[in-house]
């Protein structure tokens, strides 16, 4: 589904290279965890996959469902089923959450040649998903993320994911800022989306989230490279020993 080969990335207009040859292959149905110390390039990887324009790919390739992902516009990637749950979801004053969700869903459906959802069908879908994720109806009446707490913003991201039903979910530190109850709700929401056709990349600093969203593969990203790959037990190992081993290796 996703094939990242020798990916080198720098910040546009700057010389500092952040990703220095990342290789990663994700198959349908798999959940991959990417762990690593702060500044290792985890968020950069997620932004580059989503198409954020602040970064420049200097070398390498990313193939998604057989297509050159790096050649696609941001919205094309989303319509093709790529979803990034943001570490820091932003507030968009003046844009009602429901308008935003409906516009996004119907734009994606239209791009895929599917019929747009009617308003009643859309309302029903959102209500159902919101209930599962314990997103209060009042939140849906507000502008996108405006006035939401940190935890509410994360839940709203997962709600968007549940409504849009992407094929490849990239979760960027979805656990940060969540208390244990919120973490459980979010993880349940994510797990509900696990399917043989859908893949997930879970980026996290801590092992805690992986107790709830159990990965098939764990990668350690350090200093812009994947330095170690293993099973779910690797996460526990990292929890016990920290990242020091990899940091020295990288230096």
């Amino acid at each position: 589904m996703l094939d990242i080969k020798n990916l080198h990335v720098k910040i546009a207009d700057e010389d500092t290279e952040i990703l220095k040859g990342v290789n990663l292959t994700v198959n349908p149905g798999e959940v991959h965890a990417i762990m690593g110390p702060n500044g290792s390039g985890k968020s950069t990887l997620s932004y580059v996959l989503s198409g954020k324009e602040d970064y420049e790919v200097t070398e390498g390739s990313v193939t998604y469902d057989g297509a050159d992902l790096l050649d696609m516009e941001i919205e094309e990637r989303a319509s093709a089923g790529l979803f990034l749950a943001f570490q820091y979801p932003i507030e968009i004053p003046g844009v009602p959450t429901m308008t935003f969700l409906r516009t996004a869903l119907n734009a994606q459906r239209k791009a895929r040649g599917e019929e747009e959802l009617t308003t009643p069908a859309f309302m029903k879908l959102v209500k159902e998903k919101a209930q599962q994720l314990k997103v209060r109806p009042e939140m849906l009446k507000r502008p996108v993320n405006v006035g939401f707490s940190g935890g509410e913003k994360k839940r709203a991201e997962i709600l968007q994911m549940a409504v849009l039903e992407p094929k490849l979910c990239v979760l960027d530190e979805t656990d940060s800022g969540l208390d244990i109850d919120a973490l459980r709700v979010v993880a349940e929401g994510v797990n509900a989306l696990r399917s043989p056709d859908r893949a997930m990349i879970v980026i996290t600093h801590y092992q805690r989230l992986l107790e709830y969203i159990v990965p098939d593969v764990v990668h350690v990203l350090s200093n812009g490279r994947v330095v170690k790959t293993g099973g779910k037990e690797l996460a526990l190992e990292l929890e016990a020993n920290g990242y020091a081993e990899f940091e020295t290796e990288a230096a």
Binding site: E73, E75, P89, G94, V95, Q160
Partner: protein, 445 residues
């Protein structure tokens, strides 16, 4: 006052001066004669305003009116179906309203529907001038006297048509004043409205100014509004003149004790437009809310100039204006708030915000606070910026195409101004109006 007598007349000035001596000039009624001759004398002395007059710094009419715009004679009613089509295109067409329609300046009863109950008097100014009721003679030209204002002077010199409205109770539905422009050639259409809201009454007035594409007229429109003691005014104006038209508007609002006035203007039309609003507090514990939105593209020029006179204590004024500017368009906001020495406890706030969609667009903001009282709360602000890249990225990352995402963000920006409008139906109509502009605009780009 600047004297222009030594300066060569521009074609536009010359055309007006010729008209002062011609047959088309309205004479009478007797009770207006002195006002008319004073207005003519004022224009002869001052000519058109220009950039060296501070209030007109950014809108130099001497320069911007390249041709003469002689007053339009009264033509017989052209194609009724065409006018009806234009009326149907008004943003308020879907609302249940009473209507007074002016086609190329002239009141057309066959297009109008004035049924609005016993508490509202709606008169055609032209028909009532000769035997005008007291509430017309005592208010017309009197709501606020501004002899130094060229728009008002030309209007007083030429005006015969317009609506005279008196509201004595609560209006059951809005009254829409519709001004349609279809005549070709450079010409001036002059209209004057008088709205008198009596003590305790609630008036709801909508205005739409619609032009047939391709026409190059100048619309001069003065509206005088007197809001009586404990009365409420809701006033919403939409300016969708033809692309090549000039729209010069002057709204005067006088507010009595304990009154509430809310006046909103949205502009997308005309190559050059000027919206002047002059408001004066005549009684204490009075609220005034002035707001507006303008959406411009190409080389359009829209100037909003407000003057709010806090003449008495304990009054509140709010001003919020939002501008969306693309291409080489230019938006201007001048907001003057005067607080007189005795006007203690004045609460005045002003904000103008521009969204610049192109590097070549221009926003000029000039807040002017003149505060002579010491116990007041007054503030002003102005911002200019482009669309937030992070917002755009977030929306696109959810699959919303760039142009649609831009339209959502622009609608969100402009929507804050619409929020100032009290009627849900009207607010929705305005959102539709903005949406139509955005659709047309983003398709084009």
């Amino acid at each position: 006052m600047q004297m222009n007598s030594a300066v060569e007349k521009t074609p536009a000035e010359a055309a007006y001066l010729v008209a002062f001596d011609g047959d088309g000039l309205p004479s009478g009624p007797a009770w207006l004669d002195s006002q008319r001759s004073a207005a003519r004398a004022a224009f002869v002395a001052s000519g058109l305003p220009h950039r060296r007059i501070e209030e007109w710094k950014y809108t130099d009419l001497r320069n911007q009116l390249a041709a003469g715009y002689p007053p339009l004679g009264e033509a017989p009613l052209a194609d009724v179906a065409r006018f009806q089509e234009m009326i149907a295109a008004s943003p308020f067409a879907g609302l249940d309203t009473a209507r007074a329609v002016f086609a190329d300046g002239v009141f057309r009863p066959e297009l109008s529907n004035l049924a609005l109950g016993d508490d509202v008097d709606i008169l055609s100014l032209a028909e009532c001038l000769d035997e005008a009721p007291d509430w017309v003679t005592s208010n017309l030209g009197q709501v606020m006297s501004r002899p130094d204002n060229a728009i008002a002077a030309l209007n007083m010199a030429f005006a015969r048509h317009g609506a005279a409205v008196r509201v004595r109770g609560r209006q059951e539905k809005p009254l829409e004043l519709i001004f349609l422009h279809t005549a070709s050639g450079h010409h001036t259409v002059t209209n004057r409205n008088l709205i008198v809201v009596e003590e305790g009454a609630h008036a709801h007035i909508l205005e739409s100014h619609l032009g047939a594409s391709g026409q190059e007229y100048l619309a001069n429109i003065v509206t005088e509004i007197s809001v009586g003691k404990s009365a409420v005014l809701d006033h919403v104006k939409v300016q969708m003149e033809a692309d090549g038209a000039v729209h010069l508007s002057d709204v005067n609002i006088w507010l009595g004790e304990n009154a509430n006035a809310n006046s909103f203007v949205a502009s997308t039309g005309a190559s050059v437009s000027r919206n002047q609003v002059f408001a004066e507090f005549g009684g204490e514990h009075t609220n005034l809310n002035l707001s507006g939105a303008c959406m411009l593209a190409g080389s359009q020029h829209c100037d909003t100039t407000l003057e709010v006179d806090h003449a008495v204590p304990h009054c509140t004024s709010r001003e919020l204006f939002k501008l969306v500017l693309d291409d080489t368009s230019r938006g201007i906001f001048q907001g003057k708030v005067s607080v007189r020495p005795n006007a203690q406890k004045t609460d005045g706030k002003q904000m103008a915000q521009a969204l610049l969609l192109a590097e070549t667009a221009e926003f000029d903001a000039k807040p002017e606070l003149e505060i002579f009282a010491d116990d007041v709360v007054c503030g002003h602000g102005a911002t200019a910026g482009d669309l937030d890249e992070e917002h755009l990225y977030y929306l696109r990352a959810r699959g919303i195409p760039k142009r649609e995402a831009m339209a959502l963000l622009i609608a969100a920006f402009i929507g804050e101004a619409f929020d100032e409008v009290t009627s849900d139906d009207v607010r929705e109509a305005l959102a539709g109006f903005a949406g139509a502009w955005l659709d047309q605009h983003t398709e084009r780009g």
